[in-house]
Amino acid sequence: MDLAIYDLKLHKGRFIATIIGVGLLFTIVLAMNGLYRGNIYEGLAVINATNPDLWVVERFRGGPFNEQSTMPEYYHYSVKAVPGVEQASPFIYYTVERQTGDQSRHFSIIGYDIFGGLGGPQKIHAGRGIQQAHYEMVAHPKLGMRLGDKVPLGLHTYTVVGLTKEAVDTNGDPLVYLSLPDAQEVLYLKDNEELRNQRTRLTRSLALQGSLTSPAAERLAPALQPDTHIINAILVRLKPGANRAEVARHIEDWLYFSSYTTGEETQLMLKGRLAGMTKQLLLFRTLLMIISVVIVSLVIYTFTMEKIRSIAVMKLIGAPNLVIVRLVMEQSMLLTVSAFLFGLILIHNTYHLFPKTILLASGDDLITFIVAVLGGILASILGLWQALKTQPAMALGGQ
């Protein structure tokens, strides 16, 4: 005779309400599992999609994604000359907030050498890659752009010639690929008024030195404008059979750069930007699991206390403790498992509605289920303790 089921049938309203409440908590836990996976996937997506043999960045910098790294564009020629290097390509990466259509969009731009250089999109989902030196772009469909769309960025309008799904930036925002000069222009282009002001300030500073006449200072000023041929990293492909460690050591010792393999770059991300988020999500998940256990525990305790007299009667008429334990435990398990299933079904049907990528893994679901079941057992302890200490005499009006 399944006492737990009969009891729950009588209290099905409260039971269902509790399942929904605890189930929503489990939904959040499962969503956070997915968010954690999605965060790692997004954080590493651009690294994995680019995947050179070596990332060369400014010395002592963890760039280009973890930390700002800037270097003159022509340095890639020096890297190209290192023994063992087959190809060295300039690479620029930055995040912008621009108006596209009616909406302001947050996205990242990658500029790369479109003429056979490294760092471009590996797989074009629709359309083609960039073939012209200027004014073409490849975008992520998340931006809502379609092939042939004209997108104004800075002074120029760029045509969407291809769509790629493979990469998002380290924050999960969509990527846009441009040719290197276009990307540099979008990043460094200043307003004309600002350029004139800057030039006037520089001319005045030069004239004040006393060694230059005012016309000479005016002539010199354009040549002293800040260089916009700046990149963030140089991507390296090694010659077949080249020793990666030796090439890296050579670059570090002779060119005074830092270099990382893709594995090391991945670790930099995992231990750097992603580590904080990972801890944060773990803490949130732990707190939510504790809250779930407390709620289940209180509900089971209340359920148990409501039938404490019935439990006394059961004991009086000779029911073994196992019958009582089963009654309390089964209710706790039914509540926990039903709430978990509710949460599981809900998140598997709604994960695509979340703005950030939620990657659901069956392994994570299983671990959460095991933790939930252990929590359910833990939650029943309070009710069990109360049930087991109930004296049968209570049924006769004593004790």
Partner: protein
């Protein structure tokens, strides 16, 4: 053979100046088919007597023999005796307030003690319906206790007490929550059960109007059982 034999039973709560002698030197013997009433005012030790008799409360001294088996001797439970099994298989309980399990229907309430002794399937269901028939509440079999009247609930409770053909039925104020007419009907039922089932019935009550027709009536006063038969 006697179903229950109690000899020199005492129960003392506390010690020293706080000592309370709830029961003192109780002797009682009940045979199959006996209908015994224990009368007494509030605080006379009725509940303690019932708790000791139902093997819930450990006496301080004396001896309890149940169905030929010594359960309590001198000042401790006899070794190797499964008290819950005895209550499960050989005793039936009827309470002041019916104490039916609220989330089980009348049928399931009667089935519950049967399930504890491993009875299941059609045989168990037949036994349940036979008892509900006997109590004339077959048509209420699938009702939850909350939907039954006070008298119907008490009849279901009696059916539950009878489920395992107990040798001893202990009834604690079984008419207290009923009006006089329904109370008398319950008492008539208990008399019928004692005679037809050959179960010994001990009824604890304070209502002298309800004990008409009992085989023996004892009076408890200040923990002492008046052994003079009042019938």
């Amino acid at each position: 053979m006697e179903v229950l034999r109690i000899e020199g039973l005492s129960k003392i709560f506390g010690s020293g100046r706080l000592e309370v002698r709830a029961l003192e030197d109780i002797h009682l013997s009940v045979s199959p088919g006996d209908l015994v009433a224990l009368l007494g005012p509030s605080g006379s030790g009725k509940t303690t007597m019932l708790l000791c008799t139902s093997l819930i409360l450990e006496p301080t001294q004396g001896q309890i023999t149940f169905d030929g088996e010594t359960i309590f001797k001198k000042n401790g439970w006899a070794g190797g005796v499964d008290i819950r099994r005895i209550r499960r298989e050989k005793m039936g309980f009827i309470f002041q307030s019916h104490n039916l399990i609220p989330f089980l229907s009348a049928r399931q309430n009667v089935l519950f003690p049967l399930s504890l002794v491993g009875a299941k399937g059609e045989a168990a269901q037949n036994r349940v319906m036979e008892l509900l028939d006997y109590m004339e509440i077959r048509d209420r079999a699938d009702y939850l206790p909350a939907l039954l009247s006070g008298g119907e609930r008490q009849r279901v409770a009696i059916a539950r007490a009878l489920a395992n053909n107990p040798k001893l039925i202990l009834a604690d104020e079984p008419t207290a929550s009923l009006d006089t007419v329904r109370g008398r009907k319950v008492m008539e039922l208990l008399k019928k059960i004692a005679k037809e089932n050959q179960s010994a019935v001990i009824v604890v009550t304070h209502d002298v109007r309800m004990i008409e027709g009992f085989d023996r009536v004892y009076q408890l006063k200040d923990g002492r059982l008046n052994q003079e038969d009042l019938v």
